[in-house]
Symmetry: C2
Subunit: 105 residues, 2 copies
DNA sequence: CAGTATCCGCGGAGATACTG
DNA sequence: CAGTATCTCCGCGGATACTG
C-alpha cells in the first residue's frame, strides 16, 4: 500500500523529500487540499483521480506527516484531511513549480 | 520512449510542470547536472540509475527544454548535458524541496 | 458519502549484454 | 565512454462494483 522506494545507496537528501512527494498525484492532492478540498469525494471530484489511488496517497501523506485526519462527524466516523505545518511549508514550493511551468510553455 | 501522461481533463497548471518533472529520477538528474555531472557515465555513476532509464530521462529533459546537448568531441560524437535557462530556474525550487525534506526528518 | 476490493494494462525501473 | 537493446518485475493508475 505505502509505496516504498529503495534508494539506500543514494544518501541524497532530495531523495528523502521525493520519498513522500515522488508520486505523480501527490503534489496535485496537496494543492487541492490547500485550496479547500478537505474531503475524499471533494478531492476525487476536483482531480479525477482513481479512488483506490487516492486512498493510497492520502494514507501515505498522513503517514508522512504532510496531512492529518480530522474527524468532523462521530456517527458515522467521517474525516477531513488538512495540511499539517509540514504540509503547509510545501505549498509555496509547489506554487513556485507551478509558476515555473506556466512561465515556460 | 518519451513518457506521456493523459491529463487533458486536468487543466491544472501544476500538471504541466509535472509533465516534465513528474518522473521520480528527474529532479535527481537535474541536481546531478547542476552540481557538475555533465556526462552520461558521470550522472549514471553518481545516481546509480539504470542506463536505459537515464537515456530516456535525458531525452525527455532535452525535449522539454530543461537540458541541452553540447558536443565536446567530434570523432566520435560525444555530448555533455547542460542546464538551459529554463532548467536553471528549477534548481532553487529543488533546493527548497531538499531543504524541506531535511528540515522534517 | 467515504472509502474498500478487484481486475487489468502500461510504463518505470533494474540488470545485463552488446555496439561504435 | 556513451549509449542501445532486451528481458523481466512490479507498482502506479484507471475502471468499476461493492459496503457501512
Amino acid at each position: 500500500m505505502a509505496p516504498r522506494k529503495n534508494f539506500q545507496h543514494l544518501d541524497h537528501r532530495l531523495a528523502d523529500a521525493l520519498e513522500v512527494m515522488g508520486e505523480w498525484w501527490t503534489p496535485l492532492i496537496i494543492m487541492a487540499v490547500s485550496s479547500g478540498a478537505f474531503r475524499f469525494e471533494s478531492i476525487q471530484n476536483s482531480l479525477g483521480i482513481a479512488r483506490n489511488i487516492l486512498t493510497d496517497r492520502l494514507n501515505t501523506l498522513v503517514a508522512g506527516g504532510v496531512l492529518e485526519k480530522r474527524m468532523y462527524t462521530e456517527k458515522p466516523e467521517r474525516y477531513e484531511y488538512h495540511l499539517t505545518a509540514k504540509g503547509l511549508e510545501l505549498v509555496p514550493i509547489l506554487q513556485d513549480l507551478e509558476r515555473w511551468g506556466t512561465r515556460h510553455n
